[in-house]
Symmetry: C2
Subunit: 359 residues, 2 copies
Amino acid sequence: MIFPVILAGGTGTRFWPKSRSRIPKQFLDFVTPESLLQATKRRLNRLSDREQIYVVTNRRYVNKVLEQLTCLPSSNVIVEPLRRDTATCIGLATSKLSTVDPEGVMVIVPSDHYVADEERFLKTLCRGVEAAQRRKSIVTLGINPYSPKTGYGYIEQGEFIEEYSDALAVYKANRFTEKPSLETAKEYLDSGRFYWNCGIFICRVSVMLEAIHRHMPRLAKGLDKIKSSIGTPQETEVVKKEYRDMEKVSIDYGIMEKASNIEVIPCEFGWDDVGSWSILDNMLIKDNCGNAVKGNCVNIDTNNCIIDSDGNRLVATIGVDDLIIVNTKDVVLVCRKDKDQEVKELVKKVKEPRFRRYW
Amino acid sequence: MIFPVILAGGTGTRFWPKSRSRIPKQFLDFVTPESLLQATKRRLNRLSDREQIYVVTNRRYVNKVLEQLTCLPSSNVIVEPLRRDTATCIGLATSKLSTVDPEGVMVIVPSDHYVADEERFLKTLCRGVEAAQRRKSIVTLGINPYSPKTGYGYIEQGEFIEEYSDALAVYKANRFTEKPSLETAKEYLDSGRFYWNCGIFICRVSVMLEAIHRHMPRLAKGLDKIKSSIGTPQETEVVKKEYRDMEKVSIDYGIMEKASNIEVIPCEFGWDDVGSWSILDNMLIKDNCGNAVKGNCVNIDTNNCIIDSDGNRLVATIGVDDLIIVNTKDVVLVCRKDKDQEVKELVKKVKEPRFRRYW
């Protein structure tokens, strides 16, 4: 069995004011009317039956998930009672799936990324599944980096394992690294041996379970208790209780940086983590003046702007360049394009009591 | 009797998106919660009884006027069935007032201007009224110009008539001129004999009526018919019929440029015609970064912006300078400060069918 597991519990601040505490990024549509979550699910539909697709999310987003993924059986939504990091989240999914088919393969994917070449994406996942079925390893996808980004984690490619007919190959992963300095990132890029970690992990359920037991014993203990409660009337209560004690640790830090059975498939499928507003420059079609517009817009002498106007609202501009303008029901953001990383800082101000209703 | 006559029938495009076809500029609040019309009325309250204050407006704005000026007797709203220019509008008011007190003094003022020094303003009007009571002339107020504006009409001062104890004096007006070229405007400024025409006219009802008969016989004819219908069941129908045939002519062109009995009181009371968004720079209090803000705003690295956010909406900015940002229910305008004259051009685009609902 193949189990796509979509991680949809995140709360993003970088797409404020479109993303809010109640509607994080994965539920938003940036390019088409389809949300990032809906697009993620659609890309995975061809990998397995809908009964085998799982979504892990925080309890406050369950309704949103079911509303957006109309064909998803509601029992396939795995609910986190509290916000923990990805290790706990993946752990919970692993516990659940181990009661379904411990030798099934999990394909763990973030819900809020963008993929341009969907065919290539699917092909790569299939190769990952093959590798995971063949060996007791955790297979990761390593995106071919095109710039020394300091905001991503990197995977170093090790010894060659095997090659597929479609030019994809799988290697041992020597190491996972956190976000590097610019200097280090440049070295990585020059070496040709480093890839971006796009947060996709493919492995048998049993392999993940074993990795958790080895590298995160405390998590494993909690998950064992959860597992034995699954299907009983106490399940929700047990999950809640155990979650409270779990650490906030990412899967990268908790397992990937420690485990030795990691493999990597270097690949390229027009991936983007949709990290901040300016990325829409690459995703939206531009007009003659270089403006990437979604929604209603009328302008004079306006160049290279990104404009996102919700619903029936109109954005009108005169004599402006290189701006990001986001127009929502109650907030408008006007941000210089090269300052979009500071949206996070702005959100800190918005979270203060005076403006809290806008977060 | 003194009759303040407030002209409130204009439709302004330069304050779009705050001003709309349904809510022109005079009904808007820019600085305080008080609208320009409400402020105009309040300034005139001390000049005469509320029963003697009249408002001329288009029929589509009657309800708006009564809503904003709660103490105004509804019979004091003089209704124009169609849009004509100021000559017709003032003519209609003159007809009406001639049935009340032909020797009363009309103080005709636009409804959408700003006055900083209200005491000085009132004092100047009182001197104007005195002059109008004393002679059969039309007294105008000439604003001391501080720059060679090409967007205003100018009044040339002629021979001295009399001076008042408070340093105000009244002169013959040699001529009224249309908006000049920059070169001419500079000459005007250098001469020290030219003043801005702020659209305030003070004269006896009978004097205005005579001027209309002399300089605009066609208008006079229509007004005569209207006058004889006032108070009859046919009044509305007659006004409507006569209006249809009236020319679109301004009072400046139709009468002021032709009449010889014009006087001018040079004066200064912090007047502004609130001509475009950037004027708010002078009207709003600024923060440490030079931002003039009305409404909710949160920002990072933002300087010298004018921000107007309606109701409970929030404007958030990062890394921007010298912008005008206007946030309304359905439209947001982002305009470089020195391009605010182009709002008019933008509105032309908005009036096209596709965006018409935003006008």
